[in-house]
């Protein structure tokens, strides 16, 4: 049998490199977050859903439906932009589940799981890197909106606070999709189920229209839908009249999502075989 040797001798392999202390939880999470950022740089197409998609939504809703809904596109833009910002970021959180599922399918997670690192680091790292996508989405929505004539009456601080609130919500919601990503068989299945959940969350809300014309049963859902509270809170902040109640409800929604799904996700991750 062939015992070909490398052209260059294998020298440094045999040099013993002692194993240092394992990295801290934070360091491991940041390193794995860095990996996801590198992947965004390598495959920028994965930013389509936070760049082109919101532009199309804003143009479509404002110019196509705006006149019919509000009688005036400028007025409708003022109403719908905070909603589309929320919708875009919330939809972007779905990607977390798909990318996790793809990673597991490719086996790279087995490598991570065989390392002496804080176990949820891979999850936290991925979720942190996804925050970058959310920021891109928020900036694109605001830039396009303002170019079209959207004027937030609230100050810069209020707008930043509104964006932060949306980010926190998306981070919380992404645990749900991370859970689906870990438990479903294929990336396609994750996408299918997530989209199914996404439509009632984003469309059956006050994102696009005032719910007062909706039938009672639907309004009942819209009223408890955390996305509605988030949209109202963001509208409030951007128009310079923040509503403590809605901000509170949105944050409570976040807390509930994390409290339920973070432990479930970490458990699914530990058990993943």
């Amino acid at each position: 049998m062939s015992t070909t040797t490398l052209e260059r001798p294998v020298r440094t392999v045999a040099t013993r490199v002692e194993r240092p202390e394992p990295p801290s939880a934070l360091s491991a999470s940041l390193t794995l977050g860095w990996r996801s950022v590198l992947k965004i740089r390598r495959i920028p197409e994965q930013l389509f859903d936070v760049t082109f998609q919101p532009v199309i939504f804003i143009l479509m809703f404002v110019y196509l439906f705006g006149g019919a809904i509000s009688g005036d596109t400028t007025q409708y833009l003022q109403f719908v932009l905070p909603g589309i910002l929320v919708q875009t970021v919330v939809m972007a959180s779905l990607y977390t589940g798909i990318s996790l599922n793809t990673d597991i399918g490719k086996g790279i997670f087995d490598r991570f799981r065989s390392l002496p690192i804080w176990r949820p680091a891979a999850l936290v790292g991925a979720l942190l890197a996804d925050s970058i996508r959310y920021v891109v989405a928020a900036v694109v929505c605001l830039a396009v909106g303002m170019a079209m004539g959207f004027r937030p009456d609230g100050g810069v601080l209020d707008v930043v606070a509104a964006c932060l609130l949306v980010l926190v919500f998306a981070f919380s919601l992404s645990w749900v999709f991370a859970f689906l990503g870990l438990t479903m068989r294929s990336a396609g299945a994750v996408q299918g189920v997530s989209m199914l959940a996404m439509f009632p969350l984003t469309f059956a809300s006050n994102v696009f229209v005032d719910p007062s014309t909706m039938p009672g049963w639907l309004r009942a859902w819209v009223d408890v839908n955390p996305v509605s509270h988030l949209v109202t809170a963001v509208r409030g902040l951007m128009s310079g009249s923040p509503q403590a109640g809605d901000i509170g409800w949105a944050l409570i929604g976040c807390a509930v999502l994390v409290a339920v799904f973070a432990p479930l996700t970490v458990r699914a991750y530990r058990r993943k075989s």
Binding site: S2, T4, V13, K39, I108, R113, P116
Partner: protein
């Protein structure tokens, strides 16, 4: 360091109805190469996944360097390296990025990680591909980067799950050299393989595994001896003398020689090696010229066939992919 680097007692893992691993026992001495040999679906990958803490056994226990793979999983992870179909690198990242990532995750500093990545790329002959995404690597390069990623710090125990499956002979040779080099540095290696010659070449001891259980264990010589029957391998100087030579072999060894695809080569089972000496004298007396003669022990292929009743590549069961 305990003398046993890996010990497994009655490991069991089922996936639904399918008992993928059904009572596997292993004892691997520190500083040696241990081969786990078996066809697809025999339970090799599942066994490795349990030993590397990725999969919880349904029954039995296993210790790596004296630490239990379930109770002291975190401890075990500090001492092992793993390379396999399911523990690979990130295809979208470059060779350098993957190795830096891996180095950072085992706790090396930023500077040291970059340095170590460059060192490994250099010694694995991957420097030119350092800034190319791994998905554009050839099969051999891909396996070398996988291996490099599992030795950014020197593991005490390295698990290699089918390290050369699908590689061309030259790339296989390169992987073998790397393994030998690591063992020379004191690392214990457990490798799974479907290739009998790979186990023969690398492993100090071999466990033959089929349908989730170890059906034979020992050195490659032990396994061959357990099958018995040496065989004569005779190459004639002149293949026109074949008929005469065959007749003499049949007569002197009291057996039926096998016809081979090469006209000048005759093989025959040998019960008594002394008879071969008599045969050689007789061949000389009859004027039959010999190019090459030897008595060989059976190949591991023959061992596998004898032990399992089916050939190594004859796999009627599910693959491990679907089982896992």
């Amino acid at each position: 360091m305990p003398t046993l680097a890996i010990e497994a007692n009655g490991l069991v893992k089922s996936f639904g109805e399918n008992r993928a691993v059904d009572g596997v026992d292993l004892a691997v001495r520190a500083g040696t190469v241990y081969g786990v040999l078996g066809p697809n679906g025999a339970g090799k990958t599942t066994t490795v996944r349990m030993l590397t803490t990725l999969l919880r056994p349904d029954g039995g226990s296993a210790r790596v360097l004296g630490r239990d793979v379930v109770d002291d999983a975190d401890e075990v992870r500090r001492f092992i390296g793993l390379t396999g179909q399911y523990a690979s690198v990130d295809e979208d990242l470059t060779g350098t990025e993957n190795l830096v990532l891996q180095s950072r995750l085992v706790g090396l500093s930023r500077t040291r990680s970059k340095q170590r990545a460059a060192e490994l790329l250099e010694s694995f002959d991957l420097t030119e591909a350092a800034n190319r995404p791994v998905k554009h690597f050839s099969g051999g390069m891909r396996r070398r980067i996988d291996l490099a990623a599992s030795i950014v710090v020197t593991p005490d125990v390295l698990f290699l799950d089918e390290p050369t499956t699908g590689l061309d002979p030259r790339s296989r040779g390169q992987v073998w050299d790397i393994v030998r080099d690591l063992v020379a540095g004191g690392t214990t290696v457990l490798l799974t393989t479907q290739y009998l010659d790979e186990a023969d070449q690398l492993a100090d001891r071999i466990a033959v595994i089929d349908r989730g259980t170890v059906i034979a264990e020992g050195t490659s010589a032990d396994l061959k001896a357990s099958v018995g029957r040496n065989s004569l391998h005779l190459r004639l100087a002149d293949d026109t003398q074949r008929d005469l030579a065959e007749r003499l072999v049949a007569q002197m060894l009291d057996t039926t020689p096998h016809r081979t695809t090469e006209a000048a080569v005759i093989t025959a089972p040998v019960a008594d090696p002394d008879a071969v000496a008599d045969l050689m004298i007789r061949l000389r007396a009859e004027g039959v010229g010999i190019d090459e003669i030897g008595v060989q022990r059976p190949s591991l292929d023959e061992v596998f066939l004898t032990l399992t009743g089916h050939a190594a590549d004859d796999t009627p069961h599910d693959t491990e992919r679907s089982a896992a």
